[in-house]
Symmetry: D3
Subunit: 237 residues, 6 copies
């Protein structure tokens, strides 16, 4: 039995509140149960140095946890003077995921920076970030299209992410913090609408699994992502 | 006329939402009009090295703006690798203000860290932070008292802060961003319930004022802080 | 009674020695009693990036304490790898103060950097820095005018600063280190010749004061700054 | 056709030279074709602060590329003052992988740090690092056992890693630099002797793949890792 | 008697293996006994900002020890976030030495960066680095000349370096680690073929010496450098 | 002819003003012509971690140039966030020099930190620092002996330093800035009273010299240091 009483293939409640802040071109407060992430998409008329004059845009992401998003207060990275390896790993993952579903030439010579700031953490902050980031990106691109700055839609598909794991021997979907802390194996899947895989990050520090186990986790992820795609669709309507 | 149509001594709407996040011992989302700050108070059973064994607690504060709290995206301080002079100045001000109304001996050998993260900025983020911080601190101390960890209440008074300025020749209360950008002079007052002054930070980069001008701003601040004290009282009830 | 035997409204001896070093366009060793600060003003033919092509100059300041300016040796900020919040707060204050009395358009597209290095500290280092900085700036601008690089004098007034505080219940002028360490309240005033206020930074960590107290400190500051204006006048003659 | 002329399931030549340097408890120069990594395992009689007194050892890893390991010179991370996100991601992966096959209690209260310094890069540096790291770790642990410092062998299995990808539509094993630069998808597998999976990191920035594609890459990885296990066995004999 | 059994004026075995790595324009693994340094010379078509448009090239050097090059593991400088004073001192010495024998105008507007990474340390790593660096530089310049990028040879002479010291009262040549640790005085000489001195760095922390002692060390260094010049000549043939 | 009109073996005027600041246990303003360095020696009752419990004291040094000590303003190292290689090299030299003439066991378990802050630079700042540092150290140790904290004098000899160089073909003593900028070779000698050598740092970036040249520079240095020893003796009287 899962601590939350959920069925193995049962997601937590998903909530995607658009327009949570007013300045960003795209702004979303995304919740997966008690995990809440504020995601903003900011458009700037510049691209990184290595893309100048190459007729291409850029999408990148930054990620942070507020110090007391967690059970015990963490040290603020700005105070420590550097971002942790974990933070950098996550923000690289979010950026790569978004770039896998956007046509950067169609975006034009501009950069969209997606900021994911975790307000409250209860497991799955990186996957909630990616799932919310797609909505913020969609809203920002909609604005560019409404303003006539872009002719053709550069977004090619929806993308979503979810964590799965083996908890007390059973593959389960959408781990919360308690499950995550004691899971035997933990895998994050980033999936594209239509059944394709963008990223798999499967780790087994405490235990290991075989080919069959990996497949069972992937299939749970597909169930979860289909629900996220529906929530994204509803949010941008 | 003020851009917002407010009277010179009229505050923006104040909203203090307690329990906004679940992990912190005190958690508040404070709004002054469109300025919104998430404030959490975190209790830890340790004190800074210089206080060890001195039978005293400590209260400190950290402040940060989310990158897209503002009209244009700012660079994340964690990515730059250091906190700006402005950030440090503000968090030192918040900490000093809170320490002026708490008895650190009565707090006992523990530290309360107040994190002020600006979700959306429209002027007056440091004063909203202080005003909200008192509520978060109050809630955290209430918890310590309810748990029996503290016998006597260490909080001696309410504290609140507001900015005033001279806008197009007229002293006005609670500057929003538009006013703040073009004000001739700008002063932040931190006041203690009962008419006492904890801090004055009055700056005139564009213009200057005399003793009479300073007094008029101080009196506006007293009007404003009285309203904040009432909102704080209502919030912790 | 003050530890130094001074009357409540009595300043320490002020000494402003010009030309203390030979390379800087303006160079001053300023003393307020045992507090001694070496201030240099350096002219460079460049402005910060955000002012390029805007037909405006810039004045900025940096502040530092030599490690053994104080009773016990402090860690060198260059060795620690960062400037403290206190240092940044002070150098921002010095720069703002100087910019409040100089016309940056008349200065032309050049930057003047004022370096304030505290050789020996006995209270009031930031206010001594501002008071000395005006002289160094005046000397550097005189040089520009003598060289024909500037036609109209960009300096619009004298500026000076002094600290006041409430020491054992009595408002006193120009706190030295012993007074500063045990004062109930401490306020730094930056005043412009002619009775106008540029900055007030009044802090009460240990105690608080009311409107009347603030006014009494301000009036002491006016007495002190008038003496500083006279010393500045004599120094640049 | 692969640029190197290899068959899709053909590895590059593996070479594992033990004892390459004399000071480290375990030292290996591992080559996969032109990719060469110097791996050392260093034993220290201390553990990280969070493990003190918990009767457990620790294994961690660091990774670096020499500046001219690559086609064009990269900036030295020590000169830049920080490790890149990529470096941190890789060294976290190496450490996690090694910890998945070692019993930290049996290791005792000591730390083994595995340093992977890439002398020459031609694709697959992180997987070569993991594969070589197992040998260096094995040699260091053998030394502890020979010295009588450890009674029971803490290493529970062999571990190896290999990259696979989809190159011009075909799944291929052990990507070299040319293939890696233009592969449609790229996956790193860390496998444990006996068919279990420790880690999967599959990324598709340019393209995507489905469940079937992921399985085909995993099966290639199993072929490759079996050859690495044999080479590891030969090296430690 | 020297711990190694060498005569006072006897060098360790010198080995210079060219082409150790394939990407760098010049690549050398240089050994003085058990001290082994990988030296690469990298050509880039850019010069430092202060040389732009001055019709001159630049030669610079970087130096690093792999963490386990030494008896006990050192902390990686990239992980610490800064290069030690010792590292900076050594890399400045290597760069100055190379610049003393190259005509930067003849090199043309390009930079050669020489990276010296110590694989294994047994005393004399800085002098081995300089001696090997000349060979790497020579190979890189040969490549530029073979490609027709340079017409006239910019290298004016060979340069080599060796350490000497007073060990148990006797001046000895080419100190190894054991001797270096307990030598009374330690001097590094950088000599140019033909008897000229480029640098002397003679230090006596434990003891001191007089003019006669300095001369005796210099004469030993001349003996040693002549052998290094011969090894350099053989290596580039 | 030297630009200053001095004879080749003629020093600049030496001035050593003791007690320049009041807090430090030893304080000196040392001048060699227009080069002026403020040197303080600070005693602390602690030693570095690696010396704890070893019954030994420590002497270390820090060095800095005030930003406008030079012709053009340099960037403040505290603002840059790190000390330059040159700064570290110099402060390591000063510390080593002082440790070569002090018996650290006799000093007892305490640390003396010597801070050398260059107020005005005109060549020879590191050698002026060492020469002044001995006086500051002597004064601080005298204080320890007068207080009865130390029984036996730990200082074993005087130490002084001077730069020499080959200027337009002629060996000259005590280079000023103009000579230093265009000298063919530049050597800093640290000498101990009685004719012994503590350090030689001889560099020839533009030119080179031979054994004879080195000896001539050394002999000039001996002339110079004898004058410095006399000035040190007079200063501490």
């Amino acid at each position: 039995m899962r601590p939350s009483g959920r069925a193995p293939d049962e997601m937590r409640a998903i909530d995607i509140q658009t327009g949570f802040t007013k300045h960003a071109e795209g702004s979303v407060l995304v919740s997966f149960g008690d995990t809440r992430v504020l995601v903003t998409a900011s458009i700037e008329d510049r691209t990184p140095p290595w893309l100048r004059g190459k007729n291409s845009g850029w999408v990148t992401a930054e990620y942070s946890m507020l110090p007391r998003a967690t059970h015990t207060r963490g040290i603020r990275e700005a105070a420590k003077g550097k971002q942790s390896g974990r933070t950098q790993e996550i923000q690289r993952l979010i950026g790569r995921s978004l770039r896998s579903i956007i046509n950067l030439e169609k975006l034009g010579e501009r950069q969209i920076t997606v900021d994911c700031d975790v307000i409250q953490a209860d497991g799955g902050t990186r996957t909630a970030s990616i799932s919310g980031a797609w909505v913020a990106l969609r809203l920002a691109v909609n604005k560019l299209m409404a303003d006539g700055a872009i002719k053709e839609d550069p977004i090619e598909a929806k993308i979503a992410a979810i964590s799965c794991g083996i908890y007390q021997g059973t593959p389960v979907l959408d781990l919360d913090y308690i499950e995550d802390s004691s899971a035997d194996a933990d895998a994050n899947f980033v999936l594209i609408e239509g059944g394709r895989i963008a990223e798999v990050q499967a780790t087994a520090e405490g235990a290991t699994y075989d080919e069959e186990g990996l497949l069972r986790l992937l299939r749970l992820a597909q169930i979860g992502c289909n629900q996220i795609f529906a929530a994204q669709e509803a949010a941008v309507k």
